[in-house]
Amino acid sequence: MSPPLIAYANVSKTFDGTRVIAVDDVSLDVAEGEFVAIVGGSGSGKTTLLRLANRLIEADAGSITIEGDDVRSVDPILLRRRIGYVFQSGGLFPHLTVAGNIGITPKLLGTAPAEISARVDELLDLVRLDRAPYRDRLPHELSGGQRQRVGVARALAARPRIVLMDEPFGALDPLTRDALGDDFRELHGKLGLTTVMITHDMTEAILLADRIAVMRGGKLLAQGTPAELSESGDAYVGELLRTPRRQAERLGALLPREGAA
């Protein structure tokens, strides 16, 4: 098996001296091309774990390697430019147009304007936004779903191999969320990305991810495919799986497949 593209080894992070243990001795490997979802309650350390990967935060202990490099040995600015990051609320720059937002990382990398412009059009197609009406809009002129599409396009602009997403679809209505999730999963496959996505919604994680990591109180409780997790004896994992299970049962009963009866 090829070496993991992202590897956490015994990583810990505390805040406020040692009062808040946000991430507690976590080890996690993500293989190339994999789609991993991190699931857990609020405050369980998901965001902190993600931010450690592109050094928005520095780890206290343990090591993290990205594409084979220990993150401590590379320039954090350059590291961030080669990792796509999608922020929870989009994190779009309110004073820049859609095109300006999408093209920001290529611009920082010194790409020629004409090339950036072509890339922006390509990305708008990729995230299914019409070029003409959206290119020059400001973020506040977009719907929540459109904003997240722009956020995804921005993360992909510099052709990263890795995309990190912090509850990217969390604030959207269920229909939009579904559509965006499916679209992104397709992009993940098409572009050969390696994706780590945080979500507090187990159903979303099961539907989109290859593998799920469950966090609680800073610790990595369990990890595995949905099938592997369902075999876990851990009470908390069981509790997390109960909701999607019940939903599936009820939906199955309420919406019998045509001709299945």
């Binding site: 928005l56 961030r80 922020f87 994190g91 720059f93 920001i104 920082l108 510099a158």
Partner: protein, 519 residues
């Protein structure tokens, strides 16, 4: 008849290129310096609460210092620095006019810029900052492409406030020797020329408004990413600066600068001296409205060439003498002391402008008061008013000592209003000036000083060190020496206090010269 038919509007307009030009230059320089200091400080301190608190606190304190005092404080400070620089590095600089005005105004402009820049930068959403970092910006890129653009509206509001403050406060730089639109206001207030006062206020207001609107244009251009608007605003400001520079550049360099303090008599006498110099074929301008401590230092450091002071004033204020000597002795000693600073006392004009206790003639006669000694026994039931410095001057202490004076109450007043107040009986006695025209106008009498508690105040012509051997200058002014008696000066002062065209300092000086010729 329209009030604009008054010829003083035309006279005011004539000064506009000079006054407005100087005003714009000092304001723009101060604002630029203020921005140059405040913006980096605000940016550096935005993540350092201690530094931020200290800066904002300091700027707030500066703001509470009245503009006039702040400007006045910078003069001695720079004077000391200039002396230091001369002795350490072998070169000095002029502590007069432009430099202290720019520094004080720049300091004054800092609070709104600091506060708004810090507030604006702190108002940027933490999520946006994280996104800037996340997409791979360096701290500098984040600052310039994200934080500053987002903080811009708040910052510009601060810059506009600062601009309006600076332009308004720059009118107060006249007393420290910086020509500004304040020249209209100071001269107008002193010589009761309300046309000048109004003109100065209007000009300053229009200038402030224009600059504010140009800055607003730049702001809206930057905010809406309209290069055109930002450029228009920028060009507008640049055009304003250039337009005010051109007439100054084209103006012929004048050789002689005649100084004047901030009261009517000084305006008239400086106009008279400038007229005499011009008549002798020398080029001359006046620098009016100079603070009374500023003007002496300005002469000593050759920033002005000549002005009129009063022997007793120099004796007490400049040389800190508290003893009182007979007139000729005091003059002789003064001449020696001035010579030590290379200043020439070229002669007396012939009249004295001394402090005197003044009261209505009729009341004095009723009470049988002819001298201060007579007044002493009645003083306990009387009130006295003086100008802003009188009660802290050695003369006042000397008077009280010599005559055992003790009044029921004392008040400080604007000199122009004192005379009317004593004439109307609102005040019983005032500390007036012997050469003031209002003494005659209100039928007042100056009480005698038999114990010579008040030192002599001969009007004397002082020449700057570099003019010590300037024969042309001495010759031009010689016809004035010993020629102006107290009655003539009083009448000139009374004319200058009028509120019509014939009361401009120039017109009165002209009248005075003709009158001297007839003698």
């Amino acid at each position: 008849m329209s009030i604009f038919a008054d010829p003083r509007w035309a006279e005011a307009l004539g000064h506009l290129p000079d006054y407005l030009g100087s005003h714009v230059r000092v304001s723009v320089a101060a604002l630029a310096l203020g921005l140059l200091l405040s913006l980096p400080l605000a940016i550096i301190s935005r993540r350092q609460p201690v530094l931020r608190g200290a800066l904002l606190g300091l700027a707030s304190i500066v703001q509470t210092v009245p503009g006039l005092a702040l400007l006045a404080l910078f003069y001695p400070l720079l004077l000391a620095l200039a002396a230091l620089s001369l002795s350490w590095f072998g070169f000095g600089f002029s502590a007069f006019g432009f430099l202290p005005a720019v520094l004080a105004l720049a300091l004054y402009s800092m609070l709104p810029v600091l506060r708004n820049t810090i507030t604006g930068l702190q108002g940027v959403d933490a999520a946006i900052l994280e996104a800037a970092q996340g997409v791979g910006m360096t701290p500098r890129q984040s600052l310039f492409t994200v934080e500053l653009p987002l903080a811009l509206p708040v910052m510009m509001a601060g810059i506009r406030t600062a601009a309006v403050w600076v332009i308004g406060t720059a009118t107060l730089s006249t007393p420290i020797g910086q020509t500004s639109l304040g020249n209209y206001i100071f001269a107008g207030l002193q010589t009761q020329n309300w046309v000048f006062v109004l003109f100065g206020c209007l000009a300053a207001a229009v200038l402030a408004l224009a600059v504010d609107q140009l800055l607003a244009l730049i702001e809206s251009g930057l905010r809406n990413r309209s290069r055109l608007r930002a450029a228009l605003g920028g060009v507008g400001i640049a055009a304003l600066v250039v337009a005010t520079l051109v007439p100054t550049m084209m103006r012929a360099q004048t050789n002689y600068v005649v100084g004047a303090k901030t009261f009517t008599e000084q305006y008239v006498l400086s106009a008279l001296m400038a007229q005499r110099l011009k008549a002798a074929g020398l080029s001359a301008t006046t620098r009016e409205g100079l603070g009374s401590n500023v003007i002496f230092e300005a002469l000593a450091s050759n920033d002005i060439d000549v002005y009129i002071d009063y022997s007793g004033t120099l004796w007490a204020n400049q040389f800190h003498r508290t003893d009182i000597k007979p007139r000729q002795e005091l003059l002789a000693e003064l001449r020696t002391m001035l010579a030590r600073q290379n200043i020439t006392l070229s002669g007396e004009l012939g009249f004295e402008n001394a402090y005197a206790l003044v009261m209505p003639r009729r009341r004095a006669e009723q009470l049988g008061i002819r001298t201060i000694a007579d007044l002493a026994s009645r003083a306990a039931n009387m009130s006295i008013a003086g100008d802003y410095e009188f009660f802290s001057r050695p003369e006042w202490a000397a008077l009280r000592r010599a005559y055992g004076l003790s009044f029921r109450g004392q008040r400080q007043m604007q000199p122009d209003f004192m005379y009317a107040a004593v004439a109307s009986g609102e005040i019983d006695v005032i500390a007036g000036y012997t050469s003031d025209g209002l003494i005659a106008k209100y039928d007042l009498v100056a009480l005698g000083d038999p114990r010579h508690a008040i030192p002599p105040y001969d009007a004397i012509v002082l020449l700057a060190p570099k003019r010590a051997n300037d024969e042309a200058l001495r010759k031009a002014l010689a016809p004035l020496l010993g020629k102006i008696d107290i009655a003539t000066m009083r009448e000139a002062n009374l004319r200058a206090a009028g509120n019509d065209a014939a009361s401009s300092p120039d017109a009165v000086a002209q009248w005075l010269w003709e009158k001297l010729g007839k003698k």
